[in-house]
């Protein structure tokens, strides 16, 4: 009787937790390989075709028109000199934050649930930063001269202005892109070696190159673990500084509504808010559309991310309120006017929609463990949060720019070609994911196996307990 009960408890744990449900190594490797190299269905090709078409029209063609015609085809005007381009830049940098948060912060804190989706999250960082970088270049009047922002030696001894927050921004984003790409690559090495040993043809050549001759000896593992540890700790301050510096583009300016000291942490929390929302959507899509993923990505993962989303939503609400309080308390006449314009102006519907989808809906749904473990429900919340965070940036950039200290110039901004370009960046982001799912192992197999090795059942009297041993 007790034995059966004990057995039931174990089975219950197994079903729920990936870490307690180990499969033989070879089988797990084959599952990941099959999900990657298996013959793509017609759905895959359709997705590639549609996304490729959107990228070609909305990104390549529209950008060409924008460069050839000038920014007149966009909606930017006086006083909204910055529009949706900057909204998209901040939005994509925000998306990219969740990747680092999941793969670095959760790794440092040894959160075991992170293991199967660190790869998907890191890809989000790199792909998101590509879109952010493109959006900021779209916004420039003479993008063909953008290399002037780089400190490069030249005959005229001209140097970029390091007083400008835009220069800080450029350096911060470049640093983040480089370090996050390296941090994506390091944990990929053992998986590349795994794929190398199990593939033929062009794949073999690619994986062989990327695996850097990794054989899995004890020395190689030690080096790799050290490198990943160093990177995990080093990339956390980079991640925090990037979005703080992005917020300084606004906070360092002499504009009502922008000149707010709370913007740094407020932007970081906002970034995590949208990033977590995006991460959960990615997980739901991977789980629904790739082979064998229902084994790796389970309800417990949605539950864990759902909890994080709830906490981040509460933190965001606090900072949102705090930002309003601090600005209102400043007593500046123009700021007061702007704050009223936010909720009572022509774009007030956006302000209320932002609060509903960023705060009300997550709080109403994510408190319930059952609801937040349901992939379609929690990913719908994730999509809504991203819409809300896009609205938030839209309110901060073009809507706040509408009100300035010269009432004669007040005029509402109407987006033009920016919207096409925004859709183009979104399509490219998804397209990169779709293509990556066929080339890069979406699940870091070694990380899952490592976690499973550390977990075991122990019996204390009649009670079955889960024990996790320290690996390092």
């Amino acid at each position: 009787m007790t034995d059966k009960k004990h057995h039931d408890a174990e089975a219950h744990f197994r079903e729920k937790h990936l870490m307690l449900d180990p499969l033989p190594r070879g089988q797990m490797n084959d599952m990941v390989m099959e999900s990657m190299t298996g013959k793509p269905s017609w759905k895959f090709w359709l997705a590639v075709l549609v996304l490729g078409g959107i990228v070609a029209y909305c990104l390549v063609y529209s950008w060409a028109v924008l460069i050839a015609e000038g920014l007149g085809v966009a909606g930017v005007n006086r006083p909204s000199y910055w529009g949706v381009f900057l909204v998209n830049t901040v939005f994509w940098i925000g998306i990219s934050h969740a990747g680092t948060f999941i793969s670095a912060i959760l790794r440092v804190f040894k959160a075991e649930f992170r293991r199967p989706f660190t790869r998907a999250a890191e890809l989000m960082t790199t792909f998101g930063l590509v879109q952010a970088g493109m959006s900021i270049f779209m916004h420039m009047g003479r993008v063909w001269l953008s290399y002037w922002l780089m400190p490069y030696p030249n005959q005229r001894m001209l140097w970029p202005n390091f007083h400008s927050p835009l220069s800080w921004d450029l350096l911060a984003i470049t640093t983040y892109l480089l370090s996050s790409t390296m941090y994506l690559f390091l944990p990929l090495i053992p998986d590349m070696a795994m794929a190398r040993d199990r593939s033929t043809g062009w794949r073999k050549a690619v994986y062989k190159t990327l695996a850097l001759g990794f054989r899995g000896t004890e020395g190689e593992w030690t080096h790799l673990r050290n490198a990943m540890n160093i990177f995990a700790f080093a990339i956390i301050p980079v991640m925090f500084s990037v979005h703080t510096i992005v917020s300084w583009d606004f906070a360092a300016a002499t504009r009502p509504g922008w000149n707010s000291t709370i913007f740094g942490p407020y932007f970081i929390v906002g970034a995590l808010h949208s990033g977590m929302g995006a991460a959960v959507v990615v997980l739901a899509v991977i789980r629904g559309n790739m082979k064998h993923m229902k084994y790796f990505i389970r309800a417990e993962h949605f539950d864990a991310i759902g909890k994080l989303m709830l906490i981040i939503s509460m933190t965001w609400a606090y900072f949102f309120f705090n930002d309003y309080m601090v600005q209102w308390y400043g007593g500046d006449k123009w700021t007061k006017m702007l704050l009223h314009y936010h909720e009572a102006g022509p774009m007030g519907w956006m302000w209320f929609a932002m609060l509903i989808v960023n705060v009300a809906i997550p709080w109403a749904i994510l408190w319930n463990p059952k609801w937040r473990s349901t992939p379609w429900l929690v990913s719908t919340v994730g999509i809504l949060i991203n819409v809300g965070m896009w609205f938030e940036r839209y309110i901060i950039v073009p809507i706040s720019l509408t009100i300035n200290r010269m009432p004669f110039t007040w005029r509402l901004y109407q987006p033009g070609i920016e919207l096409y370009l925004g859709v183009g960046t979104l399509a490219l982001f998804i397209l990169l994911y779709v293509l990556a799912s066929k080339v890069i192992p979406m699940i870091p197999v070694w990380e899952v196996q490592e976690g499973q090795m550390a977990h075991q059942f122990k019996k204390y009297g009649r009670e079955t307990v889960v024990a996790v041993s320290e690996l390092e």
Binding site: M140, G141, L166, A252, A253, R405
Partner: protein, 242 residues
């Protein structure tokens, strides 16, 4: 930490060119706007873009109404152009050093061929007086025949703004130098001041107590510098209600 007095001191010491605008005699006729556009090769934006907030004038006449209809009271016309701040918010934010301070003339310069079009300077300008070239605008005939050869023509993607007609300043300085003398007050003036039929705009050296601008400022008293509380140290003084 720089103290406010020090900033003011340095502005008093080094401020050079300035303007005095008498809003009481400004009729709002827009002659200054037209003259500025012709002098500085400002492009013709067209009705549609102009209506959408893309007008490209380096000087504009602001009109405001006070009260609700029918009890409407019009405030004096307010010509607004680059205030040539002594401590300009537009300057530090440009990542390419395209907007810089001229140490010699104490003016804010816009280096057109260095501008990459981030438009940060325009966002940070509290006076909203910067104009951006949103497109390469067509100039209808016969406008292409009246370009001022002393002023660069700007292309799309470049920021521009009032320069206090720096080409005229340089011309006058070159002439005076070749004749071995100093520039005399009133020898030249900006296009807007020259065109104003009511003489509402006066331009000259603010660091010379004998110049007309300094005399006018002293005589009228109670001059206002716009948004002075931001510490921008503007060079344009406004008079109203004298």
């Amino acid at each position: 930490m720089i103290k406010l007095e020090e900033v003011k001191m340095s502005a008093e010491e080094t401020g050079k060119w300035g303007m005095v605008i008498d809003q009481d005699i400004c009729t709002g006729c827009q002659a200054c706007v037209a003259a500025c556009a012709m002098e500085n090769n400002i492009t013709f934006v067209g009705e549609k873009d102009s209506g959408y907030g893309r007008s490209m004038h380096w000087i504009r006449i602001e009109r405001f109404w006070e009260g609700e209809y029918p009890e409407v009271k019009m405030t004096p016309n307010q010509p607004m152009m680059c205030q040539q701040c002594g401590s300009a918010p537009c300057e530090p934010v440009c990542p390419a050093f395209a907007t810089v301070h001229s140490q010699a003339e104490q003016l804010n310069l816009q280096v057109y061929n260095r501008c990459v079009g981030t438009r940060y300077c325009a966002n940070n300008c509290p006076y909203q007086v910067r104009s951006f070239n949103w497109r390469d605008y067509e100039r209808p005939e016969p406008l292409p025949n009246q370009f001022n050869p002393d002023v660069t023509v700007r292309r799309r993607g470049v920021m521009e703004k009032c320069t206090f007609c720096i080409q005229r300043i340089h011309k006058a300085q070159d002439k005076a130098k070749s004749e071995g003398r100093e520039v005399v007050d009133g020898e030249f003036t900006t296009a807007c001041a020259q065109a104003c039929p009511a003489n509402a705009i006066t331009f000259g050296r603010v660091d010379d107590p004998e110049s007309l601008v300094s005399q006018l400022a002293k005589r009228r008293g109670h001059g206002v510098k716009h948004l002075e509380e931001l510490g921008t140290l503007p060079s344009v003084t406004y008079f109203k209600g004298g």
